[in-house]
């Protein structure tokens, strides 16, 4: 298939791996930010082909995983209301809140629907004028443009029955949190290609300079990933700490200006609780006051919920690259994709789910 097969060619991947083996002189810890990259690495078996000296740790870039428990509980409370059609990306349905997931809400009579795009949720609102349509607007910078477009479209259409439950988070503050931690082990980053498609990569330049870490913008196919790793290792071996772009077919330094403009028009920066990590200042987006009428948290009075994590789950440490899924006592025992204790076991981007699904338990 065009644009995919070229980046999955075994001989090219092998060539870069060969080059990598020649270059590595000592152990390095590299974090891939994005959960999509984690899955691609394990699905293609890339982790087994890397030189042993290179340890990949998995980053916090799984929107489903880091969405806070309070917000998931809130989503379930809103979804259970009889007047509400609750629209969500499919991944979110299986994420456990304190007690249940959105599938359970649906089974109990809640009208929960999977949509492929927030614009489908806007269409639902148009088609169901007597119902309240709420879209669960989660994600990193990647999903923000489409999510804000749905709000702009709802306003243009004069819809009074559309709102969004926003849980947006941003990559750079999470990198600061990881690098600023006294336990940090990460020496280089593969930045998430799709996030950079929207935001560019100039935001990472101060991070590379401040912490002395190389950051390489990386795609998702095997060839993209080995190339990103090679450039990171080249920098580490030569003592450089720069931002490089290994995903130039999609990413420019400045990113997508039009997308950034609409994000800035609708969203403003706020503090966010990251599931498993805690509160990170100025790490997310919420609706600007001018768009408060589309804020589901304001439209529906949801009581303060007391949310509790499973004491067994170490998702937070996994998301910070401190521990790996196999280090968890619950992994594969009490915690499986069928009965997840934490979000990292749920999402198609969660590190635990990737390890479990592709057999990396042992």
């Amino acid at each position: 298939m065009k644009h995919l097969d070229e980046y999955r060619q075994a001989h090219l991947v092998q060539g870069i791996l060969e080059d990598l083996r020649r270059r590595v002189t000592r152990p390095w810890v590299i974090m891939e930010i994005c959960g999509g990259q984690t899955h691609s690495i394990v699905r293609h078996g890339l982790d087994q082909l890397l030189p042993e000296a290179i340890e990949l740790v998995h980053g916090p870039g799984c929107p489903v995983c880091v969405t806070s428990l309070e917000l998931i509980d809130k989503a379930q409370a809103i979804a259970a209301r009889p007047e509400v059609i609750f629209a969500s990306y499919g991944d979110m349905l299986r994420v456990p809140g304190s007690g249940r997931d959105l599938f359970a809400v649906r089974a109990a009579g809640g009208d929960v629907r999977v949509v492929y795009s927030p614009l489908d949720a806007v269409r639902l609102a148009q088609e169901n004028p007597g119902r309240q349509v709420v879209f669960f607007a989660i994600g990193f910078e990647t999903t923000a443009p489409a999510n804000v477009m749905s709000v702009l479209q709802a306003r243009a259409l004069g819809l009074r029955n559309y709102s969004v439950l926003v849980s947006h988070v941003c990559v750079p503050p999470a990198m600061h949190a990881i690098l600023g931690s006294p336990h940090n082990r990460v020496q280089g980053f593969l930045a998430a290609g799709h996030v950079c498609t929207v935001m560019g990569y100039h935001e990472y330049e101060p991070i590379a300079a401040r912490y002395g870490v190389p950051i390489v913008v990386t795609g998702f196919e095997p060839l993209d990933l080995v190339q990103g790793i090679r450039l990171t290792v080249e920098q580490l071996e030569s003592g450089r700490a720069e931002v490089e772009n290994a995903y130039a077919r999609a990413v420019t330094r400045e990113g997508n200006a039009a997308a950034q403009q609409v994000i800035g028009q609708v969203f403003e920066i706020c503090d966010r609780n990251w599931r498993g990590i805690g509160r990170i200042p100025a790490s997310g987006w919420r609706l600007r006051p001018e768009y408060a009428e589309f804020d589901a948290e304001q439209r529906f009075e949801v009581q303060a919920l007391r949310s509790e994590e499973s004491p067994l789950c170490i998702a937070g440490q996994i998301l910070q690259g401190l521990r790996r899924p196999a280090d968890c006592r619950a992994f594969g025992g009490p915690c499986t994709p069928e009965h997840p204790l934490g979000a990292t076991m749920v999402s198609s981007e969660g590190a635990c789910a990737a390890y479990y699904r592709y057999g990396r338990s042992a």
Binding site: Q48, Y89, I138, S348
Partner: protein
Amino acid sequence: MKRDEAIPVMEGAVCPVPLAHDVTVVMGHGSGGRMTHDLVQRRFQRVLGNPALEQGDDAAVLRLPQAAGRLAITTDAHIVAPLFFPGGDIGRLAVCGTVNDLAVMGAHPLWLTASFILEEGLPLATLDRVIESMRVAAEEAGVAIVAGDTKVAERGKADGLFISTAGVGWVPEGREASGRLARPGDAVLVSGPLGDHGIAVLEARGGLGLASDIVSDVAPIHGLVEALFEACRQVHVLRDPTRGGLATTLNEIARQSSVGIELDESAIPVRPAVQSACELLGMDPLYVANEGRLVAIIAAAEAEAALQALRRTRYGEGAVRIGRVLADPAGRVLMRTAIGGTRLVDMLAGEMLPRIC
């Protein structure tokens, strides 16, 4: 004379002749009375007619082709939205699904029964299309629909039309195919590209916005099975990888036979349009449903003959070898990835969900 206004005026004969109700299904179609009788006679028996069905008794009484051999019996329920999709419909699905379950046991499919749950308000023209489609599929598969039943559910209590089928087949002496019989060294074959049905139905539901021409593979595969038994002596396992896809089917076999199965990623056939749709949605074609594919595990020495025999059949033109059976790890399916790594191919956990980004 002043008329007493309390007494209604008789304005001629207005005997209330019942409406014919020949446009949509109404509750009366499930009453068991004349309407039910008419529905069965005019719509089912007229199209699907065969001596057993036309007897109109409480059960079909049938004679086996030979005294020797064994019977295979299966049952299947069918729910699909939408009822019609590119390449098929719920009627064709119901017939082929049941025929294929019999065929993969090495049986000659002979007879089917079908129960219909009709939702009040279903257009009868829709029902007619489904029945006609079942007739065509049954004819292609060489089976007779020998008994049936209809019930009507109130509006909102059934999604248009549900079909539940049962099938009976006859297994000739000497044929033994079972999920327990895979042996280390065997070859794993599949009869054509994977995932067509699941993606075609998803696309027909609308909302994907893909301008694709993906058509469901729903088809009877008994012809492929017959070709295999003619060409090979050591047919060990046959399966149709329906819900849960190839990955789930192979996991079941690996567990039943206590063997490992190793797949070669670059050999697995997937159409580019299906691959594209899966990449966009974050799905894996290994887990997407098929309704007209055959998975065969056969002694390696006979693999080439088996492939040639399959490729000569209708629906088997795309047959390829995709992997092999190992002694270890028992109960597991592994994949040699295209770039040379190895990974586990697990069963699907719950519903397959499109990912966020």
